[in-house]
Symmetry: C2
Subunit: 271 residues, 2 copies
């Protein structure tokens, strides 16, 4: 079975697509062709989108599905009149919210991914720059860090720190445990001072070897034997230091980031 | 008026919160206290969440709002029986989808931010590493780049490239125009070969000076005069080269990323 799904919004359609994905994962046996159509903010653009939608319905010989989030009533209605079945993320909930809050909405187009609040946006950019300048032990001064991820090479530290900067405005540094740290079985002194904001990331040796192999094929670095040694040494070091440990092998960066914030009790609003 | 809003999910609750934000921006006069409660995947955790919800209702003297996305029926129902008003992102739409598709769903918990598809996840990590190793002209070999952002320092290149790696699995490099490039009024030869995948980012001189001032206060680099010169020189260089230009001053990285992909005709699924 073949179906086309459109994610259509007056903004980037990124939220619409993400929510759409979470719905579509519930139907693993259907092959979905997916298309994101962003910035559909007026009737003209809505009509262009309808041409695409109706063409897809004809091509597939099956009704397309539209996941929709548009503030403008007229544009929204034009899409809803297409040949597709529309899930309207916006209209249904906004009505419920109006009733719950007892006030009318003030229609403003696709603000969620805009720079509506410049100060908050700058916080986010600053945190991203912080992650870059405190990645992989580049800078060892952690006074301004909200948190520090510690672990061996390729345990997931860097993408998680970048994600936390970009999406939570959290200043996340990361420090790669060195062979010397592992041999001494203790964290370096400059880290011990910040113990309350440290989380250790751990990964299975098999998975680690696989990841490292694609980076440096047939190296000692990637060998299963060495990975086992590093993983065991890192785990015992972190335990000895009393550092909270998160296992990343089966987790995405969103999941790791979410667990790190939970573990440290940091409540941060998402961007 | 003061209201507490909870974003509750059996996954990271990141999608739930993002969609929630887009709804809440429509009510700018209400002060919302927001809390994300992730990983609510069973009845026990749902009951813990209800304690928090009901406490907030009492504190505020106003009904809390829950934006909910939980697959497990029992856990979902426990939250719905709390004192809050619940917007159920999952249940309403999944029923509509089942009808539209004519098949029953296969309930699987919070897959959208999991590593369900390892191959795609690795693509994403590889693209993020690509952005890091091809940031700011570190590496000038662009054969594997899906796209190259070109612009003067602080025009938004780096965070946009990281975002595109993390969320679209797109290999995005960036090259900062140097004083010598600006004076010669042409792109360096190693870039000209990749012209089809280049997008120029531009920013207003006033905004640029403001951003640079926080980085290097009172420097020539940050001076309004120098920023004006760089912006004008970059704009004329990019025009002369026939490079498509995107203005980033009033755009978030999501918006810039979305426009870049649209401009280059790259259809990529979101992570």
């Amino acid at each position: 079975m073949q179906r086309t799904v459109f994610f259509i919004s007056d903004g980037t359609a990124i939220t619409t697509e993400t929510l759409g994905h979470s719905l579509l994962t519930q139907f693993p046996n259907i092959e979905f062709t997916q298309e994101r159509i962003p910035f559909v903010s007026d009737s003209g653009k809505a009509r262009d989108a309808v041409l695409k939608i109706n063409a897809a319905c004809k091509m597939d010989g099956a009704t397309a599905i539209v996941i929709l989030s548009i503030v403008d009533k007229e544009a929204r209605q034009i899409i809803k009149n297409s040949d597709a079945i529309t899930l309207d993320l916006f209209a249904d909930f906004i009505d419920t919210l109006e009733q719950a809050l007892g006030v009318k909405r003030q229609a403003t187009v696709g603000q969620v991914h805009s720079v509506a609040n410049l100060e908050r946006y700058e916080e986010r950019m600053e945190a991203t720059n912080y992650a870059l300048s405190h990645d992989d032990g580049i800078s060892l001064s952690y006074d301004h860090a909200d948190l520090i991820l510690v672990g061996i090479s390729r345990s997931g530290k860097t993408p998680t720190c970048l994600y936390m900067g970009l999406h939570f405005g959290v200043k996340a540094a990361n420090y790669p445990l060195t062979e010397s740290d592992l041999e001494k079985q203790r964290l370096p002194t400059f880290l011990r001072r910040h113990k309350k904001k440290i989380i250790g990331l751990m990964i299975d040796a098999d998975r680690l070897a696989q990841i490292r192999e694609t980076r440096r094929p047939s190296s000692r670095y990637a060998s299963l034997k060495n990975c086992h040694w590093e993983v065991d040494a890192a785990e015992s070091l972190l335990r000895a230091e009393g550092t909270p440990i998160l296992h990343t092998t089966h987790s995405s960066i969103e999941e790791i980031a979410s667990r790190v914030l939970l573990q440290l009790g940091l409540q941060r609003e998402m961007f």
